[in-house]
Symmetry: C2
C-alpha cells in the first residue's frame, strides 16, 4: 500500500520497485491498493480498509499448488488461450522463459501489477490496463506441445507416450494457423481485460527474452457471473445446455481416475499433470437456426429447453441409451457401456464468436477444451466415434486442433515444467 | 410463467405461441420463467417467487422511450456492433424489416425469448442461447448510414446534412471491409452471450425477410461489473484511464446541447436522435509497451497511474492546457478554448481484442464510438486536429470507420425509423 500522501500515488511511476523506492514509498503498489483508493474522492489519497480490496482478495486464486490452476478451478467467465512457437536457442533459455512466466503468473494471479527495473525513462514493467481491476479469479495454465520435444531442448526422450500427435479425424477442416504450438497458455478470468493483460504480459516477457513467439490465440466466453444462477448449466451457441454430464471437479476419485496423471502412468515428471486437447469447433449457425426443433433435439438427444435426455423429464435425469435417437450426439460422446467411465474427460470449453466470415455468416461456435489422463484412451476414441457418426456433424466443422502436456503445479520457489527439466 | 406441471417446461417447445398453446399452457414462456425454474431441483416444476427473476427484472432496460437506448444508458460491459447492407427491394420491404427488428428488440430488451409461429417441425423462433440468462441491461440501438439515402428507398431528399460522408483523415489505413453500412445495430449488454443472441436473431430476421445482409461486426469490452468500483474510470489497452473528461449523461443540458438533435437542427425526423461515428483504432501494442513512462505520459498529457493531468495531482483536477506537453492527446482532443464546449462528444467506445495479426502482434485497441448532435462541428474538427498532430498517432492506426444517423426512440406500437418513412 502507498502511504497517504506518497507522491507516487498521484504522479509517479508505481509499477516498479525502483520507482517506488525513488520516492521513499513502500514497495509494491498493488492493484488492490489502487482499488482501495478508487472509492475515495479525487485528490484524497488517504488509504483505509476497503470493501473493494476485500472483494479483490476473494477473487484471487493462488498460483502455487499441487496442480496447476485452471483445470479443476470452477470455470471463469472468460478465456484467452494462446500458443507460442519456442524460439529459445537452448534448454537454458527455455528454462529462463518458464521461470519468468512462472513469476509473472504468480504475481498476476495475486492481482498485482508486474514489478521490475522500471524508471521514468524505461518502459513500465507492467502494461497497466489491469490497474484497478480485481484478480478476477485469474488462472494461468501452461502446457507443452509435442513439438517442444523435437530435440531442440534436450527433452526428446522425456516426451510422454500419451502426448500423441493427434490423428486426423473424419471431416476435419483444420486451418494450420489455428493448430499446434510448442507452448500454450490457457488464461481464464471473470474479466476479459484481466485475461488479456495476462496474455499480453506473458507474450511481452517471451519477446524480451527472445524465447517464444505468439502462434495463435482464441478468446471465449462462458457464463457471466450475475447473469444466471451459479449452478445452472450454461448453454452453447446451438441453444442447448452444455456440460450436464461433465465430470464433477468435486469428485476427487474421478479427477484421480480420469484427469490427473498418476504414478503408474509415467513419465514421473507428469505426475499430477494432465493432458489438454483443444479443438476449435465452428458451428454452422445459420444452417442450424433453420433446422426444426425435432431435428435439433434428435441431434443432441436432449430437449432444448430443459436439457432433459430423451425419455427423461429434467436435465439431470439419467440417460437411457436405448431412448436416444440413433447417432445422437450424447449417445456417441458417452455410450454408457463397459469402458465408458474410464473414457470420460473433464470438459472446460468456451463459446466463441469471432465476427463474420467473408460470406456474412457468423464465425462462432465452441472452443472445446478437455483435460484427461490419457488422450489415447479418452479423447481419441470419443472423437473417432463422433467424427464417424455424430448427427451434429452436419452443423459443425473442426477448424483448429492442438494437444498439450499440462505439467503439475508449481511449488513456491519453483517454476512450471521444473519436473521436466530436472528429470 | 408456465403453470406448475405444464409439460412444456420439461419436454416441449416453449419458444413459440403455438407450442405453448398446444399444451394448454399460458403463452409467453420467458427467460425470467426459466430463471425462476433454475433454482429448483431436477424434476421439480413448481414455480414461485424467485430472487433470480427479480435480479433479471432489475437488469432490464425498456426498449421504448423518447430516445433510443444505448446512448445515455450507463455503459454496459460488452459491445457487439454490426452493420448491414440493405437488400430490401422496396421501401415497403425495408419498413417491414425495421418493424420486425423493433419488435424483436423490444422483446429481447425485456429478457424474453422471441415468439413466433413455432412448432416441433419448424425452426424455433428464438435461437435459444440466451434462455436462462438475465436481460443483462441489453440495449439495441439502430442507425442509418449515408448509403441508405442513395435513392433505393425513396428517402434521398431526407438525408440529413449532418449525415456527411466522413472525410479522409491523415494517417487513415481503413480496411473497406470494416467501413460503412446501410444499417447498423449497436448491441450492448453485460453478458456477451446476450449481446450475441440479439445480433444473431436480428440478422436471422433480416435473412428471413431478404432485407439485409451482415457487412461487418466488432465486439468490445468495457468495465466488468464487480471487477472494479462502479464509478472508477476504466482503462484503455494503453493502460490509461479513458473517459475522465467525457460528457456526463446526467447533464441534460450537455446532452441537449451536444448529443441530441434539436428542433432547430433539422430534419424533423431526426429530432431526439443523434449521430454516431465509429472508428476501429488499432493500437500498436508492442511498440507502445516498449516506450518509456515519460513518453507514454507525454503522449496523453496525463499520469498513467492516477490519471491526473499534467500540473494536477488527481484524475479529475482541471486540465490546464498550458501545462500539457505539446501535441499531447488531451490537448488536441479538447483544446479548452472558445468553441471547445460545443465540440464535445459523448464517447461510448469499447476496448477490443481480435486475436493475433499474421506477424504475431495483437490486433487490439479501441473501438471508438461517439454520439453527437452534428459531426460537422464535433467529430470532424476534433479528428482533423488529432490526425494532423496527435502524439498518439505513432502508436495507433485507424482501420475502420462509419457514420450513422441514430433516429429517435420508439413509441409503443411504433417502429424504429418511423419518423423517416412517415416524413
Amino acid at each position: 500500500m502507498i502511504p497517504a500522501g506518497c507522491p507516487s500515488a498521484g504522479s509517479a511511476h508505481p509499477l516498479g520497485l525502483h520507482a517506488a523506492h525513488r520516492y521513499g514509498c513502500q514497495v509494491g503498489v498493488t492493484r488492490r491498493a489502487v482499488l482501495a483508493r478508487a472509492g475515495l474522492s479525487a485528490g484524497a489519497l488517504a488509504l483505509g480498509g476497503s470493501v473493494r480490496a476485500v472483494a479483490a482478495e476473494t477473487s484471487r486464486i493462488p498460483y502455487h499448488g499441487r496442480y496447476q490452476g485452471g483445470v479443476t478451478t470452477p470455470q471463469q467467465a472468460r478465456l484467452l488461450f494462446q500458443t507460442f512457437d519456442a524460439t529459445a536457442r537452448s534448454p537454458h533459455e527455455l528454462r529462463a522463459l518458464l521461470r519468468a512466466w512462472t513469476d509473472a503468473a504468480r504475481v498476476m494471479c495475486d492481482g498485482e501489477p508486474l514489478a521490475g527495473s522500471a524508471s521514468r525513462n524505461r518502459a513500465p514493467a507492467d502494461t497497466g490496463e489491469a490497474l484497478g481491476l480485481a484478480a478476477s479469479r485469474l488462472t494461468v495454465t501452461f502446457g507443452f506441445g509435442p513439438s517442444l520435444f523435437d530435440g531442440r531442448y534436450g527433452v526428446r526422450a522425456r516426451r510422454p507416450e500419451a502426448l500423441i500427435d493427434l490423428p486426423a479425424f473424419r471431416g476435419d477442416r483444420l486451418d494450420p494457423v489455428r493448430c499446434g504450438g510448442d507452448l500454450a497458455v490457457q488464461v481464464c478470468a471473470d474479466d476479459p481485460q484481466v485475461a488479456l493483460h495476462a496474455v499480453r504480459n506473458l507474450a511481452r516477457i517471451a519477446r524480451h527474452l527472445g524465447a517464444a513467439r505468439p502462434r495463435w490465440s482464441q478468446a471465449g466466453f462462458a457464463k457471466t457471473p450475475g447473469s444466471s444462477t451459479a449452478d445452472e448449466t450454461g448453454r452453447n451457441l446451438l441453444g442447448f445446455k452444455d456440460g450436464t454430464n461433465n465430470l464433477s471437479t468435486a469428485d476427487t476419485g474421478k479427477m484421480d481416475g480420469n484427469v490427473w496423471v498418476g504414478d503408474e502412468d509415467g513419465p514421473a515428471w507428469m505426475r499430477d499433470g494432465s493432458y489438454l486437447v483443444v479443438r476449435r469447433v465452428r458451428a454452422r449457425i445459420e444452417r442450424w437456426d433453420e433446422s426444426d426443433l425435432d431435428e435439433q433435439e434428435d441431434v443432441f438427444g436432449r430437449r432444448k429447453l430443459s436439457g432433459a435426455p430423451f425419455g427423461g423429464t429434467s436435465e439431470f435425469d439419467p440417460v437411457d441409451p436405448a431412448k436416444l435417437p440413433r447417432n445422437a450426439h450424447i449417445a456417441l460422446a458417452n455410450p454408457r457401456r463397459a469402458g465408458s467411465e474410464a473414457e470420460r474427460i473433464l470438459r472446460r470449453g468456451y463459446n466463441y464468436a469471432d465476427g463474420l466470415l467473408p460470406d456474412g455468416h457468423l464465425d462462432a461456435g465452441l472452443f472445446f477444451a478437455a483435460f484427461q489422463r490419457d488422450p489415447r484412451r479418452q479423447f481419441v476414441p470419443i472423437q473417432r466415434r463422433l467424427a464417424a457418426h455424430d448427427r451434429l456433424n452436419e452443423y459443425i466443422v473442426h477448424t483448429g486442433s492442438a494437444i498439450f502436456a499440462v505439467p503439475p503445479g508449481v511449488r513456491r520457489g519453483g517454476y512450471v515444467g521444473e519436473t521436466l527439466f530436472a528429470a
